[in-house]
Amino acid sequence: MSDQMRGDEVREDQRPDADTEPGELAQEDDEVTKGTGAGVGGGKGVTSGSSWVVRISVLALCLLWTIPSIGLLVSSFRERTDVQSTGWWTAFASPLDFTQWTLSNYDIVLFENDFAGAFVNSLIVTIPATLIPISAAAFAAYAFSWMEFQGREVIFVIFVGLLVVPLQVAFVPFIRIFETLGISGTFLSVWLAHTGFGMPLAVYILRNYMGSLPREVIESAKVDGATQFQTFWRLIVPLSVPALAAFTIFQFLWVWNDFLVALVFLGVTPDVKVVTVALAELIGSRGQDWHLLTAAAFITMIVPMIVFFSLQRYFVRGLTAGSVKG
């Protein structure tokens, strides 16, 4: 009987610092950030050798990936003759010699080849094609994780199963449906197509994230008198910002860089042509003119790069939170 004491004393001894806080998401995030910092910088003492190896490798990989992009950027500002006769790095021999730099490549590409219009078209396609699926998926993910209804699991599995359907399979049916609706070749058709193709992954990532939010917090909101919609809007959405942001970036980059869907559903007419399609055309018609191609490529790249660099924090954190934790 000596072992069966349930006393305060015994329990207190068992957990002297039982100050764990299951409900604190924000804190977890902080710890994750700190954790990674320590992983790289914490290699003092014994492990300092391997830490330097890691640093040098990372630096080498970064250079390997960055150099072509820099080459592209430099070339896009050089004269046609220079681009065709010497390598881009020779420009660094006298970087302050401003006579070698020119903006005319951009001028030609933007206005003669109408990349300006294509750029605007790309924005018109990308922004709704990102926002529509993310909002629809957020509602769906909430329902899949926190509302009880018949066949919830089955529907979710079917939904996620759609991830394996190749996009090309849907082209013919989509085109026929859009023709029936009289919207083929419009921006609306491409928004709908991207929404359809993006939803399964969005629902999957968001459900995993929302499902990992602490149950007691959601129950607490119910007891506090929140309706389903209030729970979703005031609690789930603010708490899911990392996952929402991650998927927004993901979908934005995918739609912006998409060529196939845009070509199939929008085509090549100038009023709806997007940058990727315009770039492909330029390669076809002015394939020898590297100075123009580099400028066009850079115009195409600039938005994804801005998006990625400004939001990369969310990108990494949100995707791992959604998939690994869930």
């Binding site: 009987m1 000596s2 957990r15 002297p16 299951p22 602490p214 506090d224 603010p238």
Partner: protein, 405 residues
Amino acid sequence: MAKVVYDSVYKRFPDGTEAIKDLSLEIGDGEFVILVGPSGCGKSTALRMCAGLEEISDGQLLIGDKVVNNLTPKERDIAMVFQSYALYPHMTVGENMGFALKLAKVDSDEIDKRVKDAAETLDLTEYVDRKPKALSGGQRQRVAMGRAIVREPQAFLMDEPLSNLDAKLRVAMRAQIAELQNRLGVTTIYVTHDQVEAMTMGDRVAVLKRGELMQVDAPQKLYDNPDNLFVGGFIGSPAMNFAEAEFYKEEGQYKVSVGEGDNPTILNVHDEAIDRYHRVTDYEGKTLAIGMRPEHFFRGNGESTDAPQGMMWTGRRVTLVEQLGAEMLVHFGTSAPPIVTEDMREAVDDPDAFAELERQAREGGQVFTARFDPGDPPKFDSLIDVGFRTEYLHFFDIESGEALR
């Protein structure tokens, strides 16, 4: 504020298990009732049914005079404090406390006033604009309390609200919650597995075992007069010592004999114990379970082996001495056969401890725990004499576990 009534409430899960069986319990207006029991006894389920977070399979649940079975949590007007506090991490302390009122469309001046009052009551005024992650565990716990009290609800439901705090803080918060409940006079149901919380905080304690209500009573009554072996074994820390014993009458004196073999320990049962457990006389010549609280043992001096109203275990080996400052717990080996029933398994509430008891049973003996005044501690592995005040003896039927009252 209102009374809460469980009327033959059942909870069945889809797989057929019954988490709550025929629970009937009336909690008076302003009363503080503790639900306690071993893990898996359904105490949290019972609470969550009241909150509307679990469906009620059968029976009725009333808050005030209204049947609430089919009402949403929102319509029940109750406040709940969760084990993990369940604070909203993206809101400040003030927003956390005012959230329910905001949802109820109370106007913002009124919300500010009530949040301010609650913050003052709970000593949180300087933290109102902080986020929960910037608070300590105790402060978060107080925010969770604050969120409940600003609502001025029909009832408070608390699900092990102190179990995430460290020991010192728990003692302080225990007193604070009890005092607060007293002052506000709100009907409160409080779930815990902590002995001390159960004994000290509530007006009444309801003990559950496997979904069934075993006994409801004021804490001291529960401790002094357990209805069955399970309650006797579960309430109290260190726990009551149980042994199998023969009950018989010899020369007009009731006696019990404990222990196997040729040399059982005999004790004369005090008349007071017979008065309290009058049904025990039906068990003359039969085997029953006796229960002994640790504090009713006394240390013998090695001579009074035939004390008229006492049972002596002479020359017992000390297996452990725990000096707790105000008292001293001495564990000593005996040949008394332990009770190894389902009731005991639940009362022990620890698979390892129960396995140890079973092992001792196979070897034909067990370790008793006695609570003595501190001072002059016996040495480990030395031999001592221990007596028992038989006026405090408890008697139970072994099979049914019922107290023989």
